[in-house]
Amino acid sequence: MQFELDEEQAEWRSILRRFVEKEVAPFAREYEEAHRYPTEIIEKMKDLGLFGVTVPDQYGGMDTGAVGLAIMFEEISRGWMSVAGALGSHTLACFMIAKHGTEEQKQRLLPDLATGKRRTALALTEAGAGSDLQGIKTRAVRDGDGYRINGSKMWITNARYADPLPVLVRTGTQNRGSRELSILLVDGDAEGLEVSRDLGKLGYRGIETCEVVLNDVWVPEANLLGGEEGKGLKQVLSSLEIGRVNVAARSLGIAQSALDKALTYAKQREAFEQPIAEFQAVQLKLAKMATDIQAARLLTWWAASAIDRGARSDVESGMAKYLASETAVSAALESMRIHGASGYSTEFEVERLYRDAPLMVIGEGTNDILSMVIARGLLKNAG
């Protein structure tokens, strides 16, 4: 049984922590208030190679493994969760292309995606289909040497910067069935591809979340991921475990930041002539937060190390994402309570954590859907 990071992972964590303290955290409040896209931070993340964490070495990436990826998402989110959003769907799409792309697609796309010279995203969900991806309406029909796509996608982070934008489309003729869907890699400047609007959000500001309209967009056959129709759902599902680890780790970042801020504030703020940290009511909250966070972190590393071993991690990553995101929500609220009125004020950062945390419960498979995944796994294995 091993609960510690290895030397390289620990070093990676300490470098990221310093990077975030210097280049991310100091700008979070100002940028988020102004709904400002963190362009400068993203450029610095490119220098650090963060866009290549799921790209294999041979294509210019640095393949940190899922544990390395979890460390990265936690540390960045500890500074500002929105910034992790610039990397989230990018890393998932890179993972999918690396795993399922044809050799030509990998050679053409991965080296530039690894450095962040080109960026990507994932266009899966629609206004009428999120958890139920088989219900998507966007359709692609054969047209000459390629496909013509019509439809629209919703809640697409980084859509404006994606080139290519992988789009989940219906290529089959049946209403349901896992063989009906495919992924097409749509060039960012494809005619008929339009980012129609940015969606307003409670939190997760600074990073755009968009509606994308595809109006008679033509893509060449060479951009069908893996070169075979009907594999789309399988390709997407294969990246979900990484996706859940990503959101679990982002949740940890939010929760840890909530705890850090609560600890600092509790030691500084005085009431009845002593720091409020001396009060048992405050100590109980701190102890609960720290315990929940560490439990969620170990669960996340455990799920991630299963992926790195090549083992199944659907139930494991589901549990990690479930516990970590619920912990983010409760820790943000508890931290706000410890901060009292200051916590409710926009002068302090706790209110941002409180607004960012609920996305963790909803995104990348709602916790309700994930609970079903966990339960199915349990029931299947029960005698």
Partner: protein, 258 residues
């Protein structure tokens, strides 16, 4: 060209720094050990030259306790090609004279065209080593440079002192030290960390360098005593009842501060 960069492990500048009162040595357990920031800047000077001039060899050199290997490896993760770590029980509590002697011997052994160090470390704050090393190696030194240009056979730069700024230059081989005006060190990435594991990392002892730390003919400084800093005493509180200005002036005059 071969550039050797002097790096040092120090207690975290932003953490608590304490002396062990019994031994007079830095209490290494009091805070996290980090690579001194000025050392990172020195590595950066070497690496940016190497980036623009393929074929440049960058070596990091450190005299440090046994547990410092991970910190020295950070220099490798940033991009240096190899590392030399001088470690020996005889070096515990070494003064600047012995340190300079050891580093000079190590530099002779490694070979160099240019040696780059920080002007002053954040822990010891001696600020004399680069000049001492240059003296022992009998090469020119240019210290406290705010800007550095390296060519095939020369190093030049801008040296700031309290009174003036000077343009200085020296033919190679030479030793320079740099100030905080030089750019910050780059962040290593995961690839760099993994690559650092496979880079040459040589550990040498005093015997390898032919140095006797107890040599009676060498002058060494001796610590006579170490004591806690006395606690701060309560200051004088002046409450303004219309005469705060007068009270303040009186306080300053009494303490000969004006």
């Amino acid at each position: 060209m071969k550039i050797v960069v002097l790096i040092k492990e120090v207690p975290d500048t932003y953490g608590e720094r304490k002396l062990n009162i019994e031994t007079g040595l830095a209490d290494r357990g009091a805070s996290e050990a980090v690579l001194d920031e000025i050392g990172e800047r020195s590595v950066e000077v070497a690496l940016s030259h190497a980036d623009a001039h393929p074929g440049t060899e960058v070596v990091v050199l450190s005299m440090a306790p046994e547990g410092s290997a991970a910190t020295i490896r950070k220099g490798l993760a940033m991009g240096a090609g190899s590392a030399v770590h001088v470690v020996d029980p005889g070096l515990v509590g070494a003064d600047t004279g012995l340190t300079a002697e050891v580093l000079a011997a190590a530099l002779r052994r490694v070979g160099f065209d240019l040696v780059i160090g920080g002007n002053v470390s954040t822990d010891g704050s001696g600020g004399v080593l680069p000049a001492m090393i240059a003296e022992l190696l009998d090469v020119p030194s240019a210290t406290s440079l705010n800007a550095v240009e390296i060519t095939e056979d020369r190093v030049s730069g801008e040296r700031a002192s309290d009174a003036a700024t000077m343009r200085v230059s020296a033919t190679l081989p030479a030793v320079i030290s740099v100030t905080e005006r030089l750019p910050e060190g780059r962040f290593p990435n995961f690839k760099g960390i993994m690559a650092a594991k496979k880079k040459p990392f040589e550990t040498v002892t005093l015997a390898d360098l032919g140095i006797d730390p107890e040599a009676p003919e060498a002058s060494r400084s001796i610590v006579i005593g170490v004591s806690e800093k006395p606690p701060r005493e309560a200051g004088v509180k002046i409450v303004d009842e219309g005469d705060a200005g007068e009270q303040l002036a009186e306080f300053l005059a009494q303490n000969r501060l004006v």
